[in-house]
Every structure is written in C-alpha cells, then in structure tokens.
C-alpha cells in the first residue's frame, strides 16, 4: 500500500502541477479528496484492515491527504496570482459617463426650510402651523398693530372677499400657538406669507419662519444667544453678527440682525450697499400687550420672537441675486439642489 500511495501521490502532484485553471484543479481535488476520491476511499477502507495495520495506514493516508491539500492550496494561490496578473493588464475608459437612474431634486427653499427646522429642533423648538388666510385679529390687532397706525404700511395686505386677509407674516401663528398652549414654549412656525407689493426685488408671496420662546425669565441676552447659535450653525462659526435696534409693533425692544457681508467680507461692496452688513432677520422681546392679548401675565412670563426670511437666507447661501429664480421653476436651475 505504501508503494501504491507513493505512486498515487506522484500522479496527484503531476496533475496538480499541470492544472491550467481552478476548474482543472478542482477536478484533481475531487479525484483524490472528493467523496469518491482515492484518499477518501482508502480512509474509509481502513476499518477493513487488520487491527495492527490500521494506525500505520491511517498515518500514511492522513499524511498523503495533507500533502495533496497543501499542493492544491499552493497551486490555487498560483493560479489566482496568474489570473490577477492578467486582469491587472485589462483596462476600461473610466472617463465614460456613469449610467443608471437619476435622482430628482428638492426645491432650494424646501432645503433651507428643512435646515432651519432641523437647527431649531435640535435646540428644543417644535413646529406649529397656521392658516395662510388669516383674520385681521391674528395678523394685526393681537400683534399690537394699532388701527390707523403707519406701522400697517410696513406690510401691504391682500384682502379676501370673505373678510379674511392673506397673512403678511408668520407671526399670527405665534398668537394661535400661545392661545392654545401654556408656557414654557419653544416654537417655530414656517409658512408662506403674502404682501401686495409688486416690483423686481419682491415677490407677492414668499416664505418665513417665525420663532418664539416664552417662559419665566427669558430675556434679550437669550434672544441673542439663540439667534447667534442659529446663524453660526447656518452660515458657519466664523460669521459676524450684528444686532441693532429696530421697530416692530409686536416686539419691544426690537432688533434687526445683520451678518457680515458674505460677498466682500465686510469691506463694503454693491451687494451690501457698501455697509459691510446684510440684514437677515428681525427679532425682539414679545411686547407685553401681545402677551396680555393671549391671556399671559407679562409680569410672570416673558419671551422673545424672531422672523426669518427664507428666500433671503437661500439667496445668501446659494449666492442668488434674484428672488424670481425660486418661482420660475426652471429645471436647469432646480436640478442642482438635493
């Protein structure tokens, strides 16, 4: 048997050596190590041998099996290496265009709206929504716009035939949310707003995000803190921010917030009218009269509110000069956003 084994081993060596590919190698493996292979057969035959021959035969067979396995493994590596070498010489034109389904695009204003919401939600604010067609009470009176006051000129209003108006800002949602809920409140209100002035730089409809926070002991420093946090997150940590006094009927003290001009970096250019600053939002402490109007006690709670122009932020982010780009819906423009 020893001689037979030696001969078989020689044959196996030869076959393995001459195998051209993995297929031939596998055939060799089956021939010797497979279920019906020579070595396997012999190993199962051990039990028919005399007791004293068994250990020796087993040892020899296992030795042979191991040798063949090692040879196959080595050959396999060799074949794979050869194949690899061949493949390495293959070449495709990787500059040909890729193919497959195309993605669509999200409207840039949706992207900005979602981002604004994400940042404020991260700070613990939640979303409240209100109707586009509002009552005069929610849009003006409750927000401390006195009747026949020139402040109303700040917001040219569309009137509907049923006595409602199209909201001129998202601030009425403040009134609705505060009337419905009790402090503490941390709310943002995104939505569409309408002004009936028509010129090149204005659209009769645009988007705003109103935000407000009401609690015991909320003050102007908090307003600055939250808005600066937002602006840094939105425009980058290095953004320069300026708060300056302003006037809105529903906040006092009121502020206008500017960021350092993104075009010239503050040196002055046509985009910032040489001032080095660009206005991004209006804000202030909620006027005590407004708090009273929704049934809160202004001696007990205080709050801040702010209003962001979404188109304005999108124009700054994407360096877009004309607001009309957002509503023309030119696919060549839209497809770049997702």
């Amino acid at each position: 048997m020893e001689a037979e084994l030696k001969e078989v081993l020689e044959r196996a060596k030869e076959e393995i050596k001459s195998a051209q590919d993995l297929e031939e190698l596998n055939q060799a493996r089956v021939r010797y190590l497979g279920r019906k292979g020579f070595i396997t057969q012999k190993l199962t035959g051990i039990k028919d041998l005399a007791q004293d021959q068994r250990p020796k035969a087993g040892q020899l067979l296992n030795q042979a099996k191991k040798t063949i396995e090692e040879l196959i493994q080595a050959k396999e590596k060799e074949i794979l290496a050869q194949q690899e070498q061949k493949r390495e010489k293959e070449k495709i034109d990787i500059s040909l265009p890729g193919f497959g389904p195309s993605l669509g695009s999200k409207h840039p204003l949706s992207i900005i709206l979602e981002e604004i919401a994400d940042i404020f939600e991260g700070m613990g604010f939640w979303i409240e929504e209100g109707p586009d067609a509002e009552t005069e009470y929610h849009n003006f009176s409750a927000l401390n716009f006195l009747p026949d006051h020139p402040a109303r000129d700040m917001q040219a209003t569309f009137y509907l035939e049923n006595g409602l108006i199209l909201r001129t800002h998202t601030s009425p949602v403040q009134i609705r949310a505060m009337s419905k809920l009790k402090p503490p409140l941390r709310v943002i209100c995104p939505g569409r707003v309408y002004r009936c002035d028509a010129d090149v730089s204005h659209s009769p409809m645009f988007h705003q995000v109103e935000g407000f926070m009401v609690d015991k002991q909320i003050n102007f420093a908090h307003l600055k803190g939250v808005l600066m946090e937002f602006l840094k997150e939105f425009f980058g940590a290095e953004v320069k921010v300026r708060f300056r006094p302003s006037f809105f009927p529903f906040t006092e003290p009121s502020a206008e917030v500017d960021i350092g001009c993104l075009i010239c970096g503050g040196k002055g250019c046509p985009a910032c009218k040489q001032s080095g600053w660009m206005e991004v939002l209006g804000a202030g402490m909620i006027h005590p009269k407004v708090l009273e109007n929704v049934g809160y006690d202004p001696e007990q709670v205080s709050g801040f509110a702010f209003g962001l122009g979404v188109e304005r932020l999108a124009m700054l982010r994407y360096k877009i000069e004309h607001i009309r780009m957002f509503f023309e819906n030119d696919l060549r423009f839209l497809r770049q956003f997702f």
Binding site: W126, C196, D330
Partner: protein
C-alpha cells in the same frame, strides 16, 4: 428723509465724521446711510484725473459715432484734443478728464493715442469708469461751480454728503434735522444746539388781524398762527435752496421755502396762507360735511367725507388739514401779508384722511407719525424769524395760540429690576438715570424701586415701562449685551405627522427622479375652465382676492395642476426634453360659513412628460409614462405603509383621458387620481400630448390610519418557479389574473411576476397572451418537485376556470 450732513452738524457740538455719525445712528436703530461719500481707498486711485471744461465739440472727421472735443484741463493750460464716444456732453460742461498716465480703478490705463487717425490726449470719464457708481450712461457732468484744473479726488473729498435716514413709523420725531441731532447728542452726551429765536415784533398784535376757531379739538388739539406783513416774495438764498434740494424739495419762493425749511429742521409742517385771501380773516378748523368738495393745490377737485379735517376761512375750506393746502389761498407773487399756520393735528385723523384721499405728503407723513405738541409755538417763531430775516416781513406782536388743554406727557413707573428681567444684563441705576436724562426725560427717584420718568413731549412713542426698557437697551448698545443660552426642562418631542409625511414624500419623489417645484398660490379666472372642470366642481369656486395685483392672479388656487402644466411649458421652451416634477402645497376652498377660516388642504401633484428623444434608455412614453407615474404612486403608498391602498380604473376626472385614468383609493375614500391629460386641456396651455399627472390629497392620507405591521421574514428554504403563458380576452386586466391566483389562498405561492405581454397575428382577434413566472416557497421546508408541479397545475386549472384562459 435726506438731509445734508453739513446742515446736521450745525446742531451738534461734536466733531465726528459723517461715517461715524452713520455708525452711531445705526447702533441706535436709526437706519442711515451716506450718499455721495467716496471711500478714501477709491479716492487714492484717482491719480491724474482733473476737473476740465469742454470748450468745443465737433464731429469726429472719420467716425460717425465719435465726437472730437477741445477740453481745457486747467485755467492756464491749452485745450487738449479729446475723442469721446458719449453724447451727453455740451460745450461749457465741466467733466472729469483722465490725463495720460492715469490708471483708472476699472483697470484702464490712459495714454495719448490715435483714434481713427486723430490724436486724443486723454479721456473724459463716466462714473463707472471712475469706480464711483455703476452709471456708464454717459460722461459724468460736474456742477458749473466745480473748480477748473483741480484734481477730481480733492474736490470729491470736500463734497458735502447727503445723509439718508429711514426711520421707523413710531418715531415721528426723527423726521427732522434736530430730531436726528438729538439722537446723536443722547448717545454721545453732548449738547444739542437748537436755533436761538430773535424776532423783532411790531404792533398791531396778531390777534387784532385774524381769528382762529377750533370746532374739533379731537382732530386739532392745538393751532398756532403768526401774522407777518409786508413780505417781499423772492427766491430764497442759495444755502437754503441747496439744503431743500438735497432733501428732494423743490425751491419755490422764499415764503414757501421757509415753511418747508422749518419742517425739515424742526419736524413741524407749516402752512402759509395769503392773509388777504382768507375771507373774513378767519381760520375755522372743522370736519368736512359728507360730499363737500374742495380743490387742492395740485388742481384736483376732491369729494370729502366727514372724517376729513378741514381748515376753513369765513366762507369755506382753504386747506385739507395736515395734508395739502388749496389753490385759492395760496401764497403768490402778489402776496404781502401772511398767516402762518403751525398746528398739532391728530395722527389717526390725518392718516385716515390721507388714505381716503390717496395723498401722502411730507406734511401728512409727519402728522401721522406724531409731531411735538409742545413745540408748535416755537416752530411758528422760528418761521417768523426767518420771514423777517429773508423776506423782509414785519412780524406782528404775539401769536394766536388756541387749545383746550396743553398736552403733557404721562409719568411712567420704571422699576430698575426690569432691566435684568427683560434685557438680561445688570446696570447701575446711576447709568440708567443718565440715559434717561440724555434723552431729555424728567427723572424722579422712587425709593427702592426705581424712577418715575416723564418723557419729553416729542417722544409720543414712549407710553409704558417696556418703552423705557428699550431706551435703556438702545443707549447701552445692543452690541454690548452678552449672548446667553436659555435653560429649560427637556421634553420628548417628535415632529408632527404632517411634517414627517412631507419629508418622506419629498425624499421618495426625489429618489424617483422628480424635481420639486414651488408655484405661487394664485390662479387666474380661466384656470378651472382650462382644466375642463364642470360647473358643480368645487374647484371652479375659488376664493377671490379683493385687491389682486393682476387679474390672472386674482384667486387662491384650487388645484396644483395648472401650475405644473405651466412649469412644463416653461421648461419645454427651454429645450428640456424630459420633465418630471412635483409640488407639495396647499390648495384653498371657501369656508363653509362666513367668518370662518378657509378650507386649506395640503395636496401633492406630480407631472411627467417627455418629448420624442432618442436615447439608450428610452421607453415609449405613450405607454410608459402612465406606468412610471403609477410606480411612483405605488412606492409612495408602499413606503408610507398605506397597506390598504388600491389603484382602480375610473373615468370621471374631467382633464384626464377616460381610458387612461386610475383612482387611488384608501379604504372607502378617494385619495387621488393618476392618468394621461386630455389633448384639449393641453391645447389651452399650447402643449401637445402625452403628459401624465397624479394628484394625492395629503389631508386624506393624514387622516388614514397607517399600519406598521410586523416585518416580513424571508424563508430559509429555497424557492422554485414555474412559468405559465396564458391566452385570455383582451378586456381582462392583469389584475384579474392576480386575483384568480390569489383566490387559491395558497401560502406556498410566494410571488407572481408578469414578464411578457403579447398581442399579434398569431392569436385570435380579441385575445392577448400574458406570461407569468410563479414562485413557490415554504417558510418551513424545501418543496419537492411533485408538490410544486401539483400546485402549478392547480394554478393553471384555476385560471382556466375563472378566466377561461387557454394555457399555451
């Protein structure tokens, strides 16, 4: 409001540059900017640009569009030949001339050159070429007073600047030079220099010459009149005209100019009547009677209502109070004696009147915002002084000053601790007191708590404690308030169902290749009929806007479809071969009852259209478009777990082809539709088929319970398939095959895949052949061949029985 900076400087005892003033004002909340200010960095670039005079202009001998000029660059120099392309110049004009060697900010280097065989020794410049503005419409023409031969940069540096102020509507006091000066003084703790009044009064006294009677003290709480006799009408002096013109007010005559000048200076609108034209030498202030007619200075006859406040003489109206005077009592070249009106009119009355008459004047703007009710007499004196100085008038003794009760501002309690509570910083009471005093407020200490503050009469906007808190913040400086993050108790917050759904929908549609569009919420009167809607369709009853910008945007939209189709037209016109868009937005329907809010429904619509293009991946759009959209709808419903949703044939959508329309059903409710748009509808938008759309009512989706269900666990045992090809009636839909097979209720049938549809000559007419691959798989074991074959035979039998299918 625009004012010359040099004018403002006369009222402040302070050496600050115009730029510093702008900065201080901006930080006080007075939006301001400078016009005509040229930055120093720019000035230094304007080397070798001089002020020159254009002596002679001829046509260029060799070029029709060019001029050949003689331009003198200095008093003693010879005129230089200059070729010029702009035609806005005339002989005698002063203009900037760039001499050889000049390097202009725009990068142009000037040298002596030959232009069309003619020598040109420099260049006349436009503002754009000098970097001064974007104006390149012509040569920059300088005033005649510009000094010949002086370097332009030197002259520019010494030009007076115009300070432009955009004050907020609550601050009427800032519509004057003195008002602006006051703010600057408050912040810098300097002294305001109010003009000193020196008048030499003569007898008789004013009261002997005219009478003033106020019938409506609500509309007119105070009326002051001065009488000036023997004025000489003439042009006003140069300095006054310059100041008025810089503020955009046309110079008329010394008398009219003085009233305007004092209005700009002190904020009090004045009116000068020709005393001799006031019948009965009388002023009566009263409301108009309804329908009363009056012709204003601009020559327009106006019909008045009872809300309008009138200034009348003994016989009838002579002015609309606070808004505009009348032609009959106007000061003219013949005027010698004047009644000067300085009054306080009620802001609301003036505003209502101005709106009713559609007139916004410099006067009404100031009255609406509130003038100083305690300053009325001072302003009359100031005008009297100027009449005396500049028109040689005799100011009669005394003033007629009519009022019921002089206005005195209410004292306001101010608690020091409110600064910390509202503003978030601490400040010494002493500093607070100082702030109030610098704002000309009366300060009384109140033990332990704070102060009692009485604001000055010109600050009508300060009515309560919060107004005072704002003043403290303003003077302290917003920039100095340290930002701080608020603290609060955490709460579990999840986005609203609506917002979550919106985000999912956008994501799914973008993944499917749709681009999101946003259209305005307006529609025109024709939009519903363009869609072929029937009259009883609620979409034909949109809500109308009373004051639309245009008729084609006079309604709130009831459908997203017209917008999408317009977007398609827009993009096809821009050579976009494939348009696949969606919009997620509100549509609006009238409220059920009057006085209620509208029925605002969030809606989703998508559109797909493809022009004939040859490309690798092209599918035939006339068939494929429908199924591409259907896939989108299926994925939306699947991904969002609307498990019970069905897509069923329907033919009642007015703008969709009846044979190519499906409705989207959620339980018993119809959530939307999809299909191919009718060619006649497309014709209304000048488009041609095929165009496919879908619509989904988001409010309905939101109302529908979504079942998360349990997750599908794939079998660990292999599945096997058998193909089957069956011939059935053309009328039978694919869905019938599915229903038939599913009707076996055999759980081992794991999938049914349609892989071919055949129609053709080989089949009898009215028949089609469908080929399916049916998968068999058990979650518990490997199925045997015999089992599978038996089951597949059952399927074939079922199809024969239920559909009369012929198995091929």
């Amino acid at each position: 409001m625009e004012i010359l900076y040099s004018w403002l400087k006369e009222y402040i005892d302070l050496k600050i540059s115009a730029n510093e003033a702008v900065e201080i004002l901006t930080n006080l909340g007075v939006e301001s900017s400078l016009q005509g200010a040229v930055p120093g960095s720019l000035l230094s670039q304007l080397e070798k640009v001089v002020i020159a005079r254009i002596e002679k202009i001829e046509k260029h001998p060799n070029a029709d569009k060019l001029l050949y000029c003689q331009v003198r660059p200095a008093k003693t120099a010879e005129a230089l030949p200059i070729v010029c392309g702009a035609h806005n110049i005339k002989e005698g004009d002063m203009a900037p001339l760039a001499l050889p060697g000049a390097k202009l900010p725009e990068g142009l280097i000037i040298k002596e050159s030959i232009i069309r065989k003619v020598v040109s020794k420099g260049m006349l410049c436009s503002e754009k070429e000098l970097g001064l503005s974007e104006d390149y419409s012509g040569i920059m023409i300088l005033p005649q007073t510009a000094p010949l031969g002086v370097e332009l940069k030197e002259w520019l540096a010494n030009q007076d600047m115009i300070l432009s102020i955009d004050s907020s509507p609550n601050r009427g006091d800032l519509l004057s030079v003195v008002g602006i000066a006051r703010e600057l003084c408050a912040k810098t703790n300097s002294k305001l220099k109010i003009p000193e009044i020196k008048i030499k009064e003569d007898l008789p006294s004013a009261e002997d010459r005219a009478k003033v009677l106020i019938e409506d003290y609500i509309g007119c709480p105070r009326y002051v009149a001065r009488i000036i006799e023997g004025v000489k009408i003439a042009p006003s002096p140069e300095w006054m005209r310059k100041r008025l013109e810089a503020s955009g007010i046309r110079s008329i005559s010394n008398i009219v100019d003085i009233t305007n000048y004092v209005m700009l200076e002190l904020g009090q609108p004045l009116h000068a009547f020709d005393l001799e034209l006031l019948r009965g030498k009388k002023i009566i202030v009263r409301r108009a009677s309804a329908g009363e007619k009056f012709t204003t200075l601009d020559g327009i006859e106006r019909t008045l209502s009872e809300e309008i406040l009138l200034i009348c003489d003994g016989e009838g109206p002579v002015a609309v109070a606070g808004i505009m005077g009348g032609a009959d009592s106007e000061v003219s070249g013949q005027t010698a004696n004047i009644l000067l009106e300085s009054a306080f009119f009620d802001p609301v009355v003036i505003r209502k009147g101005a709106i009713q008459l559609g007139m916004q004047t410099e006067a009404s703007k100031r009255f609406e915002r509130g003038v100083d009710p305690r300053f009325t007499d001072f302003c009359a004196d100031r005008a009297g002084q100027l009449f005396q100085e500049l028109a040689g008038g005799k100011v009669l003794k005394g003033k007629i000053d009519v009022y019921e009760k002089l206005f005195s501002p209410e004292p306001i309690r101010f608690r020091t601790n409110q600064v910390k509570r509202i503003l978030g910083f601490s400040i010494e009471p002493k500093q607070i007191e100082q702030s109030f005093k610098s704002l000309e407020m009366k300060v009384e200490k109140k033990n332990g708590e704070g102060f009692i503050i009485t604001p000055p009469s010109f600050r009508g906007d300060i009515k309560q404690e919060i107004d005072l808190i704002e003043e403290v913040a303003r003077l302290y400086g917003y920039e100095k308030i340290e930002p701080e993050m608020p603290e609060f108790k955490m709460q579990a917050l999840k986005r609203s169902k609506k917002e979550l759904l919106r985000r999912r929908l956008r994501t799914v549609l973008v993944q499917l290749g749709f681009s999101e569009v946003l259209n305005l919420n307006f529609q025109g009167p024709k939009d519903p009929s363009y869609l072929g809607l029937k009259e009883d369709d609620p979409k034909t009853k949109p809500v109308r806007i009373s004051n639309p910008l245009a008729e084609n945007s006079a309604y709130l939209r009831t459908s997203l479809i017209p917008g999408l189709i317009s977007n398609l037209a827009f993009n096809l016109a821009r050579q976009q071969a494939r348009v696949k868009i969606f919009e997620l937005n509100k549509v609006f329907f009238p409220s059920e009852k009057t006085g209620e809010l509208l029925n605002e429904r969030e809606s989703l619509a998508g559109l797909l259209a493809e022009q004939e293009v040859k490309s690798l991946w092209q599918i035939s759009c006339s068939e494929g478009g429908f199924y591409e959209l259907k896939r989108a709808v299926e994925l939306i419903l699947e991904q969002l777990k609307f498990t019970g949703a069905r897509i069923e044939p329907v033919s009642d959508v007015p703008y969709l082809l009846p044979g190519k329309t499906a409705k989207i059903m959620l339980g018993k409710d119809r959530a939307g539709a999809l299909g191919e748009v009718k060619p006649l509808v497309l014709k209304n938008f000048d488009l041609s088929p095929p165009v496919f759309i879908f619509e989904l009512d988001i409010e309905l989706l939101l109302s529908y319970e979504r079942k998360a269900g349990s997750a599908f666990i794939p079998s660990r045992y292999p599945g096997a398939y058998r193909d089957i090809s069956l011939m059935i009636d053309e009328e039978l839909p694919h869905q019938a095959v599915i229903i038939a097979i599913r009707g076996l209720h055999n759980e081992l049938i794991s999938a049914i895949e349609l892989f071919d549809i055949y129609r053709g000559k080989k089949l009898p007419s009215g028949k089609k052949s469908l080929a399916y691959r049916i998968w068999y798989q058990s979650p518990e074991r490997t199925l045997t061949e015999e089992e599978i074959n038996a089951l597949h035979a059952k399927v074939a039998m079922r199809l024969k029985e239920k559909l009369g299918a012929e198995i091929r």
